[in-house]
Amino acid sequence: MIWEVFRQEKPGGYHTHCGNVHAPDAEMAKLFAEVQHGRRKPTNSLWVVPQPEIAEVDAEDTTFGGTTDKSYRWAMTYTGVDASFAEEVAESQREQETADREREEVTAGGNS
């Protein structure tokens, strides 16, 4: 059976997918994952998840975030007002700009 492995690098961080292992059960999967995926990269915690339990929807199935203009959802659309007066608003806008740019890169050639 295949187990997908998610690694958290530091306490308080997110578990992100880093690979998988073949193992007969969860106990063995943890033992194998510890060595295969945690022996060099900084690791605070690993999750192992049975692969058949994972359901997936991907960019072939759908266009995440839609195919029509949804710019009303984004801070940077509101150009008549300025985010810089409050650091947390400005930071949110920067994060949204990055997400929007990365999203466009992913969907480039698709339904953009």
């Binding site: 997110y14 339990e53 509101y78 409050a86 949110s92």
Partner: protein
């Protein structure tokens, strides 16, 4: 883990569901996060009529998206609260519908006109965002993670709110006058958003000792006033004479708290204000009306759970 160890180790994102946290911590965190989650839902009740009443297609879209986000924030926050193992999401939603769940003071008041929408959309959301940014450093990791996503989205809310404010403030004379009126009605409630000064706040000490929250009510209110008073002035809004707000030598503000109606505040906090009954009644009725759907989903889940493992083998 005993409470002394918790205090020693308290740091941003220090504790997660796999830590054996003392009940006192789990209860305090549940109280705080449940309050936050409830507030997202109840705020959405105030704003939802303005999806319909928005005066342009684009504003309608933005309002719908904003209300949608608030429900999304509720979803994230109830999960963060649920992970403390004290209450399930269902229990917390039930408490909200029966009037046992508490939520932000501002959402106990009716909002009836479009000119009022920036009071929530800009000022209250702005205040909330100030607070939420500091909670990214909460010691309960799932709460801090929820804040990452909430803050990521919230920049749109505040700018959308300010954009409506800008439009009204540069609109007709009638619009400007009604805007000022709305501001005067909401301003004291907005100031009270942060609660009473620290020494009167019952839960602050513990929550800050165990790292659940980072800044005190007073510090947050100051941070809010520093950024938002200039904004109000920029749009030609006159700050009401009461509550009196004094500028200290270091440029920060002090609010004369005796000018605020704390009896009303504490009545609101107990869900006992006139508007509390109206708002909670709405929640109760809408929750109950769709109870049958949740029963159908549960039934379906039971049936498919019964067959799923066989299918997986």
């Amino acid at each position: 883990m005993d409470i002394e160890t918790v205090k020693e180790r308290a740091a941003p994102r220090a504790f997660s569901p796999k830590d054996d946290m003392p009940e006192e911590y789990r209860k305090a965190a549940t109280r705080m996060i449940q309050f936050h989650a409830n507030s997202e839902i109840m705020g959405a009740y105030l704003e939802r009529p303005f999806i319909r009443q928005a005066p342009s297609l684009d504003r309608k879209l933005a309002f719908s998206a904003k209300v949608q986000d608030e429900i999304g924030h509720g979803q994230l926050l109830y999960r963060a609260a649920e992970s403390l193992g004290i209450k399930t999401r269902e229990e917390m939603l039930e408490e909200l519908a029966t009037g046992d769940g508490k939520f932000l003071n501002c959402f106990h008041y009716p909002m009836e006109e479009w000119v009022e929408t920036p009071m929530i959309g800009f000022f209250v959301d702005g205040a909330a965002m100030r607070r939420q940014a500091t909670l990214k450093r909460s010691s309960w990791e799932p709460y801090a993670h929820a804040m990452d996503k909430v803050c990521f989205e919230e920049g749109f809310h505040v700018k959308h709110g300010e954009d409506i404010l800008r439009e009204l403030a540069t609109g007709s004379r009638a619009e400007r006058e009604r805007l000022q009126e709305a501001f005067e009605t909401w301003w004291p409630r907005i100031i009270q958003f942060f609660g009473p000064t620290d020494d009167k706040s019952t839960h602050h000490d513990f929550a800050s000792e165990v790292g659940l929250k980072q800044l005190s009510n007073d510090e947050l209110r100051n941070a809010f006033l520093n950024a938002y008073i200039p904004k109000a002035e920029k749009y030609g809004l006159e700050i009401p004479e009461e509550p009196r707000i004094r500028k200290r030598d270091d440029g920060t503000y002090r609010v004369v708290e005796d000018d605020l109606d704390w009896d009303e505040f504490f009545t609101v906090a107990k869900n006992d204000y006139e508007g509390s009954h109206v708002q909670i009644g709405k929640r109760h009725d809408t929750q109950e009306a769709v109870e049958w759907v949740r029963t159908v989903l549960d039934e379906h889940e039971q049936t498919s759970m019964g067959t799923a493992p066989a299918a997986a083998d």
